[in-house]
Symmetry: C2
Subunit: 737 residues, 2 copies
């Protein structure tokens, strides 16, 4: 069987994932949605989330049309085709659909998780995890269906199979066209991450500062009008934003490997097909993995999640070996090796396997380091807790110090992975290392998305006044899966760096004539390097300022409601009084408080977050898209420097911001676990000055870890993919002048 026939299996695997998602969605809908009050709250969250998505997609639709038009108009017919517009629109559409479906199910699963938590931990885990699994499968399913179908279509259009043994010119053109799909996915991802990140943190910071700190009511309390917006934020930021993010990573890693495969020495079709086959197999393995995520009552959900996720990654190793071996042998059977090593010998299956293993080991190790820097009871978090004793200033200094320091080991690990992957299998090996980490994205994302669903379930339990043991169960669900999530974060950082590197190599291949080199001593390269190094700072500044000012609007609005709605003001008094006296509310008080809760003007808070995030996501998004174009029009060499500079400082800032944010978060939790002691000597536990300092640190960390930090991974890749897409045009302009 010719290897290209195997390609039909790729969209088929994608379709399988979508089928799984559809069945699981139906199963979730059949679950108990709880009492009327719970359903009412869930409905508010659902409507808020959908309103945001509608507003966001309206803006993005316009953007996609404009960019697609520009791509069609400027496409160079000798190395590309106006069809790149089709690729771009497809990529954007698939990403948007994955976000839409995933979030729709997440906003159904949250209340059903809360409802299931009334009867026990095990059924709640099932609902939450399956909700996450729908998101995961939608991402990989739509990814492979769209990308795979487009690949087959272009192969047919451009007769790329005819030059299997030749110059690979047509294959390169096809792969360049597919870069448009990746660019579409990256663009949507950046806007979704930034917009969602601003939304969720403006609401979160606003709700916490006025509710918890100023008014002294518990987190997620229904008297706080920003609580619904906060819960909507978990969905638009942590579910839809993360889904688009991983869609982008997944496609980027596949595309990076394909481009390098297509241009690698002999340009064999096998080298370009291999990443797609691995991704397809990854879907099947991920689906199987989801069946292992179950726990008995009293069992440990952590074990269940780890079994599914690590099990899938582990099973992928021999399967990858088989696929690689098949490709290597198929190429050899046609007379030319798949790719050549540095020594110009044919690559071996084992060398490619080692590249994948190097990537996986680095990813897992980075995850463990990330876990170390953010975990309660470890040295970094302990140091923040210790320095919180002397107030917020020393807490902040300590947290920034921890975040800065935490860049060191991950960078050394990434450097090691690059060294090994390149040593074994050249730049193709580096790309494959990134892909290896992302092949089981389906189940990894299920575990990631399960977190915010449990978080939401907890919020609903709190707001609808379910008994404390229900909240305990949802908190328990939320707390586990952290190891898996940390390792997922390690994969995200390491794979972003490696994928950006392979896309960078692709840019170098398509954007320069033979003999032209990107030398570090070329002043144009140096200028690009400096400007590129600056962009992640400017981008983060925009994101953080957006959160800061949106949160201020939110705070002002909540304060206004607390002040101007009389029943709300007196209800707040009742709650804090009872809290202070350490007793439950009386039936009459309960009635008054409930009555006041229905008077909060929730929609105003939702509207503030929605408007602020949509308006504020545009500038940083455009910065990422336009700067490579502007710099590239001046000099392709400066553009090369720009990408390298953005990669360097972007990766550092991403690691710094994620880890500082995570460490502050857990430092606060660790203080809350301490014994209460408000004396100057002790100064520990909830309500102490140390706790107040730790809460401030946590708040500063929020936009770090949930807005700016995760967007930077996308920024790096989006800028590089834009460079890959425009490179042929730039080269032609340079030749013409």
């Amino acid at each position: 069987m010719p290897i290209q026939n195997l390609l039909y299996a790729v969209p088929a695997c994608g379709a399988l994932a979508l089928l799984y998602a559809a069945f699981t969605t139906a199963w979730i809908s059949r679950q108990d949605a709880g009492n009327q009050r719970m359903q009412g709250i869930a409905e508010q969250i659902f409507r808020g989330a959908m309103a945001f998505l509608a507003a966001e997609y309206k803006v993005l639709a316009l953007f996609v049309v404009v960019i697609a038009g520009l791509l069609v108009l400027t496409a160079d017919p000798t190395t590309s085709s106006p069809m790149i517009g089709l690729s771009f629109v497809s990529g954007a559409l698939c990403s948007a659909l994955a976000g839409f479906f995933g979030m729709r199910v997440a906003t159904r699963a949250n209340v059903r998780t809360a409802a299931a938590a009334r009867s026990g931990l095990s059924p709640a885990l099932s609902v939450a995890f399956r909700g996450g699994a729908v998101m995961g499968m939608c991402v990989v399913g739509l990814g492979l269906v769209g990308f795979g179908a487009l690949f087959l279509f272009y192969l047919g259009q451009f007769d790329a199979l005819a030059d299997v043994d030749g110059s690979a010119q047509e294959l390169t053109r096809v792969v360049n066209l597919l870069a448009g799909f990746s660019m579409g996915a990256s663009s949507i991802a950046l806007f979704a991450r930034v917009g969602g990140g601003i939304y969720t943190k403006a609401a979160d910071v606003g709700a916490d500062l006025v509710g918890k700190v100023e008014a002294g009511i518990p987190e997620d309390h229904f008297l706080n009008p920003a609580t619904i917006a906060d819960n909507v934020g978990d969905n638009v930021g942590d579910v839809a934003g993360m889904g688009a993010d991983l869609f982008e990573s997944y496609i980027g890693a596949i595309l990076g490997t394909m481009v390098l495969g297509a241009v690698a020495a002999s340009g064999k079709l096998e080298a370009a097909i291999l990443p797609l086959l691995i991704a397809g197999a990854g879907i099947v393995v991920s689906i199987l993995g989801t069946f292992f995520v179950r726990t008995k009552e009293g069992g440990n959900p952590q074990v269940a999640l780890d079994t599914g996720s690590f099990g899938a990654a582990f099973v992928m190793l021999p399967i990858s070996w088989l696929i690689i071996d098949y490709c290597v042998k198929s190429a050899a059977a046609n007379g030319t090796p798949m790719i050549l090593t540095h020594g110009a010998a044919p690559i071996t299956t084992m060398a490619l396997m080692w590249a994948i293993v190097a990537g996986l080991v680095a990813g897992v190790a980075i995850g463990l380091v990330t876990g170390y820097y953010c975990s309660k009871g470890k040295r970094p978090v302990n140091s923040i807790v210790a320095q919180s004793k002397t107030g917020p200033a020393t807490n902040i200094i300590a947290g920034i110090g921890v975040g800065f320091e935490s860049t060191a080991i991950p960078i050394v690990l990434i450097a090691g992975a690059i060294y090994l992957a390149n040593d074994f299998a050249g730049l193709y090996g580096v790309a494959l290392a990134a892909l290896g980490m992302l092949s089981t994205t389906g189940i990894q994302l299920a575990v990631d998305a399960y977190g915010p669903i449990s978080d939401n379930a907890g919020g609903i339990a709190e707001m609808s006044g379910l008994p404390p043991e229900v909240r305990g169960r949802t908190d328990n669900l939320d707390a586990v899966g952290n190891t898996t999530a940390a390792i997922g974060k390690g994969f995200a950082i390491a794979s972003a760096a490696l994928a950006a590197l392979s896309l960078f190599a692709a840019f170098r291949n398509v954007g320069f004539r033979p003999g032209e080199e990107l030398m570090l001593t070329n002043p144009e390269v140096l200028i690009g390097l400096l400007i590129g190094g600056m962009l992640p700072f400017l981008f983060s500044a925009m994101a953080m300022k957006a959160v800061g000012s949106a949160a201020m609007d939110m705070i002002t609005e909540v304060r206004r409601q607390f002040r101007e709605i009389p029943v709300l003001r007196s209800a707040l008094g009742l709650v804090t009084k009872a809290e202070h006296e350490n007793r439950d509310l009386t039936a009459e008080e309960e009635r008054q408080v409930l009555e006041a809760g229905s008077k909060t003007e929730v929609e105003r808070c939702v509207a503030i977050s929605t408007q602020a995030s949509i308006r504020r996501m545009i500038a940083p998004g455009l910065l990422a898209l336009i700067s490579p174009v502007v710099v590239g029009l001046w000099s392709r060499f400066a553009l090369g420097g720009l990408l390298a500079g953005t990669l360097v400082s972007g990766v550092m800032l991403a690691i710094f911001m994620s880890n500082a944010g995570g460490a502050w978060d857990n430092a606060k939790k660790q203080v809350e676990d301490q014994k209460k002691d408000n004396s100057q000597e002790g100064n520990s536990g909830k309500g102490s000055d140390r706790h107040k300092a730790a809460v401030i640190g946590d708040t500063v960390g929020d936009p770090f870890k949930d807005t700016a930090g995760p967007s930077l991974n996308i920024l790096i890749k989006l800028m590089t993919i834009v460079a890959v897409v425009i490179a042929p045009t730039l080269l032609k302009m340079a030749s013409g002048s």
Copy 2:
């Protein structure tokens, strides 16, 4: 007259500066040192500062001996000489001496400034400025005497003049030997900046948090046992640290130009001598400039400082033109052009002038941008003030956002300067652009060092209970000179980037064989780039953690004294009570408070800062020295990437940290200027919640702007100069293997 004879003028100009410093020192000693109480306080500050310097230099002496020994042992006799050890020791020694003399005079001038401020602003300005001028002239004087004498000595040793028209092999060897001087200066500078920065901020943060925030007594109050340490810190950090820093920049810029001059196409002696002649002329102009810094009573000291400093820079322009023209013509008279342009035509005087002007314009513009980002009443500081309304968390988020954003324009300006300087006169032009900014270091540093002297004078006035109008005058002195200081900071950042670039080019020239190129697509270069990008983060983490933990020790100690010394505790009560009732202390209360002040255990606080800073400066210093060696031993290509990576993220972090710190500082001051209004709606002025939030931001900014930020400029250059020094050895090892 052969041009080399002019070289004798270089150490002569240096000697002139030292003479000026000696005369000025004698003048300062003759001024009134105030009453006994003032002298007692000044003596404590003086002894604390000298104790720190003694402890620091003891550690550094050991370090210098070890490194010098290593340099002697590993020197390659074909391209270098064991005499590089002599260069290194001389550079270290000159830097240390400049710090010693400068600080000695600064700790004499502070109390005399306070004493002079009793009679008026004008005499106080004279004393403070002349104190700063001694520091400035010691730096440039010792720099040129040491560097110039060493150059003449090596020229004699190695017969470098014989190959004026030839390969310049011996001239290159001489310049390589001089790199050791620069390395010595940079090493001392890094330790002095880090050590001094830790000292001053640990004391400042500790004194402020316990004194101002917790106990509610005014800043610099003598009841606060950390106040003396805080004032010592101003001297060891802002005077000695800054002196060593500028010594390093000055020498680095001269050396960078010399190296590129020596290796530039035709390797004419003129190209290597030119920077020394410009520096020598700069000293004469600086000395003349100091005579223009004087003001009538009621006059504006800002105008006086600006006249001296801008006047000197302006006068340097025609003088530079004359010197350049002389060199260009002298080279042409010998038959070969000084250097060649890109088009291989002889360089013109005007082209080199344009390079200098490009550097100067970029430096001034960056200074103005820096001023904008840190000034009261401008948008960035206003935004921090606005966001302080909702507490410390939003204050911190806003400040970090401002700092991140402030990297954008300076980087574009630096990029523009590189583009123009390179376009006009190649990499030699880039080096010359850096030198142009630093040629009048003598008077610039005088203005910079005048700040901490006035600050100290204010502290002494406060502690010794001088009338409020005296404190008003010293505050007034302290407040002006900010424009000049901001532009000095712009010069420091821009010149660091340009000087590092020229040293980087020098490394490329001496460390690689013809045909070897530092290509961005080489995985070793990329690995170096990533690791290099990480180092400034790790380095800053070390510096900030040192400040955080030293400040904690200080806070604990001050709290202990407040608690355990009974007379101190009751005196604090009297002061805050009187403050609260808005009245002066009664005579009896005054007596009790004074009595209590003599019971504070000041020496303990001084000892805490000294020990912490000496112990904690070692690890970051070694990181900077050892990492280029370790990476270079693995791969020279990775070392090239390492330097580029450190340059990129180091410059960004330096700008971010300096500007965020400055903006927080002035945001706090702006809140203090507001009308007092403690209502939730108003929330403004001293004592309001907004003010508390702004104080926290200011405290976070302290280690940013005074410890980590300024050290990064040195880190970048130190790593590059280490690479330049070890490059010949690395190249030989690579050839040998």
